[in-house]
Amino acid sequence: MITLTDVRKSFGSTPAVNGLSLAVRRGEVLGLLGPNGAGKSTTIAMIVGVISPDSGRVVLDHAGAQHEASDHRARSLIGLAPQSLALYEELSALENLTFFGSLYGLSPALLKERCEAALERVGLSDRRNHRAGTFSGGMKRRLNLAAAILHDPELVLMDEPTAGVDPQSRNAIFEIVEDLKSNGKTIVYSTHYMEEAQRLCDRVAIIDRGKLLALDAVPALVLAHGGQSTVRVLHAGSAREQLTQTDRPLDVLSAALSAGNVQSATIDSPDLENVFLNLTGRSLRD
């Protein structure tokens, strides 16, 4: 649905996106995983067309027609939930949604129906007439997301949608993403939390310093770049665990158990954190 071809963007002398090429398939949830400053938000801004790349192309493909991202007419296909909360705090939840929905040319009746549905979906129906400024961080994030899906877009871009959010709201947002996916929407999900990428994304693009380091499904990424598993065995009477790096953790565990005298044993499988560490030499949290 979206194709980025050798996209580059610099702000001053700092390259934010440096030769990024990737394609987003229709109906998938593509994760953009990387630390702060990796270029995720800039990539999303270029996909939605609010920033023009210095070079390269961003193309949206819908119903057989191709649109450049800079074509503002293509934006009705896109819903954006930006990283900074894009809400008017002096307006109520319903007023915010009514205003944003009216920008997409929805008829009054349809707009009303969509606003109610969106509020219901994000669990804010009972707060529809409360000013957005009175909401908690999690509620604002949910309202932010509601404004993105109000006009039923084909493509939803979410830039760190769970930043600063309580666990309850976080789970609610996960459920919304999963619900959108089950309805056939295409989602680009930017995050620096690997557990979110692992839970929600069909494929994950590992990005660091504006470059795409790897793009694949999570199991494939882990297999290719995660490195070996670690088997940790604590023998009875011993103060220290015995660590074994191996590609065959079950065999190692079985052998340790057979030898006997095992107090505890654990297998640490590689995850996206290991993938990022092996690809960049740095931790995802750095």
């Binding site: 007419r73 894009a86 002096e90 205003f99 997409y104």
Partner: protein, 445 residues
């Protein structure tokens, strides 16, 4: 609802819910106009001087004198018991001056002619108040003359005064020749007083056979009119067209400018705030261009400016009796000024990085331009060199257009109006174009 109308409606809602912005757009300009209009019109209590009066004599003559002072429309007289208290009142600026009528004033009046001993009135006033000093002296003398002239028509009082004067003369050490002269004078005055009294009686009784014409053009009795030392008449002089008819005709155009500036800065700051808060990003993600977003902001601000200026004009005309020669010309003036400030707003929105920075820098610049342009001190009272310098301020041209519509009596066929109007339209076009270009460039950067 079209996106632009939706954005205008949203901005109006936000303005009304932001109390600070609403205050500077709607309330502050009105307060400014009323305050300065009242100050420059003299405070509403007329121009009467507030003076204290100490009557230490408490005689019939002194009380008559005090009444004459109180009857003057130019004085607001407060009775005070002692000179010390009156002095304190002047020192603490509760009163402009005091008038002290000393003991012996009545007796000295009965002496007909002041001998320089007793009876003299003292005026206590700050020596720096030279104009007020002259004014009060004149009013006191006027009251004294009024009493003197009145005495000529009161035969009984005049006779008593003459008797007292003759008694004083007899006791004095004036030489006999001079005594004879004064004696003849007193006799002549007595005879004159008698004639005046007779004439006055005849005026009051129209059936009198004397045939003497009664009164002068001002309606005063002929006897009193004849005793005026100087005949003073009042001639009507029509006010110069280049000056306003009342102080509110100056202050309300100034207030309108402050209101329009408040709207412009408020909307420019809110646009900058949207860019830093993230809502601008969401607006750009919609099927809208940055130019359309700024245009909608401009239209919203223009609408508010017209509402504010229209309401203020209505108040000026209905409540403060400001005369507007032509409402159609005035509407054109408001429209042209509004366009100019919408252009300024769009330019400021284009360069503003954040709400706070736009507010600070915007108001700092606008305040300077406002002072220079006549929004605080009227253009027509500025020295020529400052008036020449004010050409760089858009406020000057806006003030000229507004003043032209309110009290200068210009129309759009007058060059005096066309030139500032054309400059304002130029400001509108340049400001709007520059703002849109900046916003478009920054959005795509």
């Amino acid at each position: 609802m079209t996106p632009i109308l939706a954005m205008i409606r949203k901005d109006l809602k936000l303005l009304l819910r932001d109390r600070a912005s609403a205050f500077f757009a709607f309330v502050f300009p009105v307060l400014f106009a009323i305050f300065f209009g009242t100050v420059f019109s003299g405070g509403g209590g007329g121009n009467a001087l507030q003076i204290a009066c100490v009557d230490s004599d408490q005689s019939e003559a002194s009380q008559r004198f005090v009444r004459a002072l109180k009857n003057s429309a130019d004085l607001k007289v407060t009775d005070i018991a002692s000179e010390a208290e009156a002095t304190r009142a002047v020192l603490t600026r509760q009163q402009v001056a005091f008038v002290h009528i000393p003991k012996g004033f009545g007796a000295a009046q009965d002496g007909f002619i002041s001998t320089g001993k007793g009876g003299g009135i003292t005026i206590g006033i700050d020596p720096s108040r030279q104009a007020e000093t002259g004014w009060i002296q004149g009013l006191v003398q006027q009251a004294a003359y009024t009493q003197l002239f009145g005495a000529f028509s009161d035969t009984k009082t005049m006779r008593r005064q003459l008797d007292t004067a003759r008694a004083s003369l007899a006791k004095s050490d004036v030489n006999p020749a001079q005594k004879l002269i004064f004696s003849q004078l007193f006799s002549s005055v007595e005879a004159l007083s008698g004639s005046v009294s007779t004439l006055q009686n005849q005026n009051e009784n129209p059936s009198s056979p004397s045939g003497v014409q009664s009164g002068n053009a001002q309606g005063e009795p002929a006897a009193v009119a004849g005793f005026q030392p100087i005949l003073v008449t009042t001639q009507s002089v029509k006010a110069n067209r280049d000056l306003p008819s009342n102080a509110f005709a100056i202050s309300f155009p100034q207030g309108i400018i402050w209101g329009i500036m408040g709207c412009a800065m408020g909307f420019a700051a809110s646009f900058a705030g949207e860019r830093s808060s993230g809502t601008f990003l969401r607006l750009c993600a919609a099927p809208l261009t940055p130019r359309r977003i700024l245009l909608a902001k401009g239209l919203a601000s223009g609408l508010v400016m017209l509402i504010v200026s229209g309401l203020m004009l209505l108040m000026a005309v209905a409540v403060f009796k400001v005369h507007v020669p032509s409402y159609s010309v005035m509407a054109g003036c408001l429209f042209v000024v509004t366009l100019a400030f919408v252009g300024i707003m769009m330019f400021a929105a284009g360069i503003g990085k954040s709400e706070a920075a736009t507010n600070r820098a915007g108001w700092a610049i606008m305040m300077c331009l406002a002072m220079l342009g006549g929004a605080a001190v009227p253009l027509f009272v500025m020295p020529p060199i400052v008036r020449d310098l004010s050409v760089i301020s858009p406020i000057r041209w806006a003030m000229l257009v507004l003043e032209g519509g309110v009290w200068r009596g210009w129309s759009f066929s007058d060059q005096s109006m066309l030139v500032p109007a054309a400059i304002l339209l130029g400001i509108a076009i340049v400001g709007a174009a520059a703002g849109m270009t900046l916003v478009q460039r920054q959005a795509r950067a």
